[in-house]
Symmetry: C2
Subunit: 410 residues, 2 copies
């Protein structure tokens, strides 16, 4: 891959935020270039082998999920966390059939589980992590909760990198690029605590029966503005470095995933910044995680070559996203009165001047016994299946299905 060098890095306490870098070419010729970084494909492949991509699914069109799964590079492990409906028709069953079929063809490692499986809830309860449970039994609805399920499974598999890809993407080729972009970010990282966030070149909208290639979403613009304002207010120097506050497509090292807390609802992505500011930002006194503070936390922001074309979620979605993002920012401990008053102004129309709510925050998952968690799922959870890499071996003219799946239904 050929990628721009970041021209500037903002250092805010132990948090290093690199300026946006554009992908110049997905592959490259290993020529020295003073303006760009050339990352050999072997280095990227080396990351991919230690990488799990989590695909949260909720009643997405099965055609879209199919394209996304086929596009994820073979060397990664894919973890599908489904919160789809189970009756009239059973979407989860369709998804699982699709996963099994794709594994039959490609022999890529794929895991799948349903978010509402009672045995999954019990495994969390058993692990002592009830922060995403409803009445101590079943995992709540929510993409953030699905992401935590996926992260625990990635940890159980011993993966070093964890990334996310939405299942509603119309362009398989762009999903493929996302994963390669993540890996490129990790190739550039110097700290074991790092994160890659993607910035879409364009997000086309249908305007008067034509595609219009919009550069920014309003929510992102606003979220980024206030995340930057928190830093500016502390350092006394204005910055516009954060441009990926709402980046749903992001990836992080398992080491960083272990120490972060996670917000719920639409605020999970901007809360990454808020959490890092609160724990490692400029002027923070009680730093609990000295390892990470010493190594520094690196954030890469990569502009994709492909545009992002996904299912339109409607206007309510946009407002909720804005509200969730700004509430989270409002409650950042580094917010001073000036920043808070600005956020309140922005929220005026939506909130009618009531106090922004605190989002529910789920604590770090670093202490959980992930292998035990997965073992419980393997032995009890009806919806859990793990299709291992190369589990089908063809012998001469015959096919021998050695292991089809390791779910307890067998």
């Amino acid at each position: 891959m050929l990628i721009e060098m970041p021209r500037h890095t903002e250092i805010f306490g132990s948090v290093k935020i690199h300026e946006m870098q554009r992908v110049l070419k997905i592959d490259s010729g290993r020529f020295a270039n003073p303006r760009a970084k050339d990352i050999p494909f072997e280095d990227i492949k080396d990351i991919l082998r230690r990488f799990a991509i989590i695909v949260p699914v909720k009643d997405e069109k099965i055609h879209l999920l199919d394209g996304v799964l086929r596009a994820i590079p073979f060397d990664c492990t894919v973890i599908v966390v489904s919160n789809s409906k189970r009756e009239g028709p059973d979407f989860y069953k369709m998804e699982r059939d699709l996963v099994r079929h794709l594994h039959d063809l490609t022999q890529q490692e794929i895991l799948i589980v349903h978010q509402k499986d009672p045995d999954l809830g019990f495994a969390f309860y058993d692990a002592g992590y009830d922060h995403l449970l409803r009445r101590d039994t079943i995992v709540r609805d929510g993409k953030a909760e699905g992401m935590i399920i996926g992260m625990l499974l990635a940890k159980a598999l011993g993966k070093d990198y964890i990334g996310f890809a939405d299942a509603d993407n119309y362009i398989p080729g762009s999903v493929r690029e996302y994963v390669i972009d993540y890996a490129a970010g990790f190739c550039m990282a110097e700290s074991p605590y790092s994160m890659v966030r993607l910035h879409w070149r364009y997000k086309p909208k249908v305007v008067e029966a034509k595609l219009y290639f919009q550069k920014w979403g309003r929510v992102s613009e606003t979220t980024n503005k206030y995340l930057n304002l928190i830093m500016s207010a502390h350092t006394g120097f204005e910055t516009g470095i954060v441009i990926t506050g709402n980046a749903g497509e992001h990836a992080l090292t398992t080491k960083l995933a272990d120490i972060l807390s996670y917000s719920t609802g639409y605020s999970i992505e901007p809360y990454h910044f808020v959490c890092l500011f609160d724990r490692f930002g400029l002027g923070v006194k009680n730093i609990t995680d000295t390892d990470a503070a010493n190594a520094g936390i690196e954030i890469f922001q990569i502009e994709t070559l492909n545009p992002h074309i996904h299912e339109e979620k409607g206007k309510a979605h946009i407002n909720n996203m804005l509200l969730g993002s700004l509430q989270t920012i409002y409650h950042c401990e580094l917010c001073n009165d000036y920043v808070r008053s600005k956020v309140l102004e922005e929220l005026g129309d939506i909130l009618e001047w009531e106090e922004p709510k605190k989002s529910l925050i789920m604590p770090p998952i670093g202490e959980l016994d992930a292998p035990r968690f997965m073992k419980m799922l393997e032995s009890t959870a009806e919806t859990f299946a793990r299709f291992e890499q190369g589990a089908i071996v063809s012998e001469g003219e015959d096919k021998a299905y050695l292991k089809e799946e390791s779910s307890h239904t067998e």
Copy 2:
């Protein structure tokens, strides 16, 4: 790459048409699989190094061209043939600046030339190939003419494979896939005379402010129907094997490019089949090219993983395409009266029962002295530039621009 095996191959004289094959995964794990062919990336890379991708351009949005050029794999040579306007503003200059800038960054080999360059016209005249000239001086307008310019340059560079990519593609990642799909086809080919034609999984249209993923275009459906009918009428067995009659995205071996004739206007793609039927089809008596006839001509039809989203060309474009395609089929020498009457029926509305015109056909380019042709362009044509692979070398901290371009303007 993991790709379906063709389940069936139609053999029509020396022409072998393989059934459509779906791309299952862009990369793969080299596991044996009885139902799919696993093509190692090294084999694909080996093809790419001997591959030129021709990008015909005519006043396309510069953003789209930029994305397309960045997406084409590094190992290929890119040949941009522009027929863009040269004043108010000078689109060609913008394109050439873009190409130079991309070469500075990526150091990929790129050639560019303007179709209307008088010295280009003269080089064709000098080569004794005046079939695409207007009044013996300037190359005519037309994509087919641009494609011939590109093919001659590819031949001059000694490339073994020649492919085409349109410059109006919204999704860079899909262009990248097209090139890899072409290469995969050539990896499967047994004959040195082979062609790969792409079939889009979906071609989304904007319908009521939403993207609608359409499976077939009406023109393609009709073109394919009559190409298949020509074969069925000869063999006595109905077939639906041809599904890529109008495939603008196609690639062929230079050996095949050398012996084909080329139609003009919208009929260049379906004419590939017509030309092959006329020369190598079932029952053809005077086969002139016995080498190719003995080796067989192989046609692969690959269904892409990505959908195709491009600029909408409007309804006039559709009708002209249908007319061009069917006229070409009408004049196929293997057409019997039954097929001709069916084609006339189909054309009824458009032609008002006048006789379908013969498209202008340009003869094979195999005998032309391509290296001499390119040398002439290098020494005379103002709009011709060749940016070689790795022409910029960074020396220590300095950059030394060894050769920026080899146009006579220097």
